[in-house]
């Protein structure tokens, strides 16, 4: 598939720019290529679902975009930063400022309540306690969970836990949200609620979302679907909503 440009994904300024990205893992002396020659631009405000069979490299690609992993080759610019040029500490600070994470299993800290879980990323920013509180309450109200903020994860349903995780992802007001199978652990009703919430974040707050999913129904909520096959971009599909 030729390079996917911002025009292909609805136009506008690119927030994610991948040029000839490659990623390999080494098992002793054996190189295992996972991604090869990925050229992809995603515009600001885009909502992209990365799809493909297991082992196609979609989670690896998501990790590279989110600054969790580093490419073996190629150029990677996200939110205006060339991630290859950042050292580990700078990359950590960059993630905190620019990326919100939504995980399949929510990854909430079980010993912290909903409020404290949402507050976690703000602890790294130079904010007063009252400012942190204001932002946490705002994020929790966006996911409609203000009344459960003192509950611990074990006291919440799966859907509520994922909504807390979404509140945590947006509390720093990041440009980019990355989601790895965000509905993988939810029943149909809760999954639909979470997907609608993500759609709102994209449409109303302009958040750029990159989501890895196996689920075609979940992918249908995105504006575009990008299919990977054996580590290369296979095809791009525009979703008619």
């Amino acid at each position: 598939m030729p390079a996917t440009t911002t025009e292909d994904l609805g136009g506008g300024e690119a927030i994610i720019r991948l040029q000839d990205i490659a990623k390999s893992y080494w098992r002793e002396a054996l190189e295992i290529p996972v991604l090869k020659g990925i050229d992809l631009d995603i515009p600001k405000g885009g909502y992209v679902a990365l799809m493909g069979p297991s082992g196609s490299g979609k989670t690896t690609l998501l990790n590279l975009i989110a600054g969790i992993d580093r490419p073996s080759g190629g150029g990677l610019e996200v939110c205006g930063y060339a991630l290859n040029d950042l050292d580990d500490d700078e990359l950590a600070a960059w993630r905190n400022a620019h990326v919100g994470f939504i995980f399949q299993n929510y990854n909430l800290v079980p010993v912290l309540n909903a409020y404290e879980n949402v507050e976690l990323p703000l602890l790294l920013q130079p904010l007063s306690r009252s400012e942190r509180r204001r932002r946490v309450l705002e994020a929790l109200s966006l996911v409609n969970l203000e009344d459960r903020m003192w509950n611990y994860p074990r006291q919440l349903s799966g859907g509520q836990e994922q909504r807390v995780a979404i509140a945590r992802a947006i509390v720093t007001d990041p440009d980019l949200l990355v989601a790895d199978e965000p509905t993988g652990a939810l029943d149909h009703k809760n999954a639909e609620e979470v997907l609608q919430l993500m759609e709102r974040l994209n449409r109303e707050l302009g958040k750029t979302i990159v989501m890895v999913t196996h689920d075609p129904k979940a992918a249908h909520h995105a504006r575009h679907q990008i299919h990977l096959e054996k580590g290369v971009l296979d095809r791009m599909v525009e979703v008619n909503q």
Binding site: I68, A92, A93, N107, P110, L124, R168
Partner: protein, 408 residues
């Protein structure tokens, strides 16, 4: 030089860790609650630390107790005159003629016409303790002035001994540790029966390990021609050097002078074997406790790998994770240390004794737990947390991010 190379990084790490305690982005409440969540491993590790710290504090309190027994015994303005190289009263011997010359020394303090000094004889006698073991007990014969030179000694039952009628007084503490020492009872020494006419206390000093009687009675019973020592108060504590030289250089005397405080300080070495044994036990248990803390923390890291991955993904740096887990280990061990130091206080005041290898006699003393010793115990537990927690914390901070997010 090598020590410096080891200590400098350690000190730098410690300094950074203290700084991190105040500016650490990962809240300590996260660590405290994580410890509380894993109650079984937390309590078993804290229990092991408490045991070690308890033993550590009790061992230190033995030395403290001995120190109280001996150091409170001595005064700087009182001197003990001994035979040269005798080192201890039991080995010393001073003939009557020399004693007569000593007693008129011009540097001795006086009370009216009487010099403030006491010619004394020290002997030992085998007694059976309450637990059935035999041990030597020091018997001290003194002149009436001997009581004036020991103002901390006071009768708590009965009265002081009288000369010439084979009477003794015994320490109150000894009554609990040796049977048959009640006032009104009888002890057999030197082929005679002695009436116990009083019980005394002496401020926890080593005097509370001795039976006291009149020196002439004791010399007669033990068929001694010479005294053991002279205890004398000087006119001025600053003139002890002058007194020492004078006694050493006088060809008629040729005796050795030590201040009473220095003499008793030397005796505190009686506790060295106990301290060595106690420290050895502490070292062995410390190794076990550190291993236990390390094991608990490695398990915590393994169980929370995904959490670590999530924290790193949110922007927490490797050193934030290192400090967080290191503090968790320190808090865990510190809690154990507090419990251990608290438990050790139950030993405070318990009377015990040891046989001095210098005097071959029993030295009674009490376990003395002071706030300083408890603080040392807690500090010791914090060091255990530092050592036991370092490797797991380092491991937690070094798990590759992608691996941590998958759960290791």
């Amino acid at each position: 030089m090598i020590g410096l190379l080891v200590l400098l990084p350690f000190a730098a790490y410690l300094g950074w860790l203290l700084w991190a305690a105040f500016f650490l982005p990962v809240p300590l409440s996260y660590n405290l609650r994580s410890l509380w969540q894993r109650k079984v491993s937390t309590f078993s590790t804290a229990g092991a630390i408490a045991l070690v710290v308890g033993i550590f504090v009790v061992v230190l309190s033995l030395a403290q107790g001995l120190s109280v027994a001996f150091v409170t015994s001595g005064r700087d303005d009182q001197a003990l005159v001994l035979r040269p190289n005798a080192r201890f009263e039991l080995n010393s011997s001073i003939e009557r003629e020399r004693m007569r010359i000593l007693k008129v020394h011009p540097l001795l303090a006086r009370e009216g016409e009487q010099p403030l000094c006491s010619a004394e004889v020290v002997a030992v006698k085998l007694f059976q303790k309450s637990n059935g073991d035999d041990t030597n007990v020091t018997i001290r014969g003194m002149e009436p002035m001997g009581l004036r030179l020991r103002p901390q000694a006071r009768i708590v039952e009965g009265r002081w001994f009288r000369p010439g009628v084979s009477e003794v007084v015994v320490p109150r503490k000894m009554q609990g540790r040796f049977p048959g020492m009640e006032v009104g009872g009888i002890v057999k020494m030197g082929g005679r029966q002695w009436d116990i006419v009083g019980a005394f206390e002496a401020g926890g000093s080593s005097a509370e390990s001795e039976i006291w009687t009149d020196v002439a009675d004791l010399m007669q019973a033990y068929k001694r021609d010479s005294y053991s020592t002279l205890l004398a108060r000087l006119q001025d504590a600053n003139r002890i050097g002058e007194f020492t030289r004078s006694v050493d250089e006088d060809k008629r005397l040729k005796l050795e002078v030590v201040t009473e405080r220095a003499y008793f300080k030397e005796l505190t070495k009686a506790g060295d074997p106990i301290a060595v044994l106690g420290n050895l036990i502490t070292v062995i248990l410390t190794g076990g406790a550190i291993f236990s803390a390390m094991n608990t923390m490695f398990a915590a890291v393994a169980n929370r790998t995904k959490e670590i991955g999530m924290l790193r993904a949110l922007g927490f740096r490797q050193r934030d994770i290192l400090a967080s887990f290191q503090w968790e280990a320190i808090l865990l061990c510190g809690a154990g240390g507090l419990v251990g130091a608290g438990l050790a206080t139950f030993a405070n005041g318990i009377q015990t004794g040891t046989t001095s290898f210098d005097t071959f006699s029993d030295v009674g003393f009490a376990f003395t737990i002071t706030p300083g010793l408890m603080a040392q115990g807690v500090a010791f537990s914090l060091v255990m947390g530092l050592l036991g927690g370092f490797l797991p914390a380092w491991r937690a901070s070094r798990i590759p991010l992608t691996e941590a997010m998958k759960g290791g």
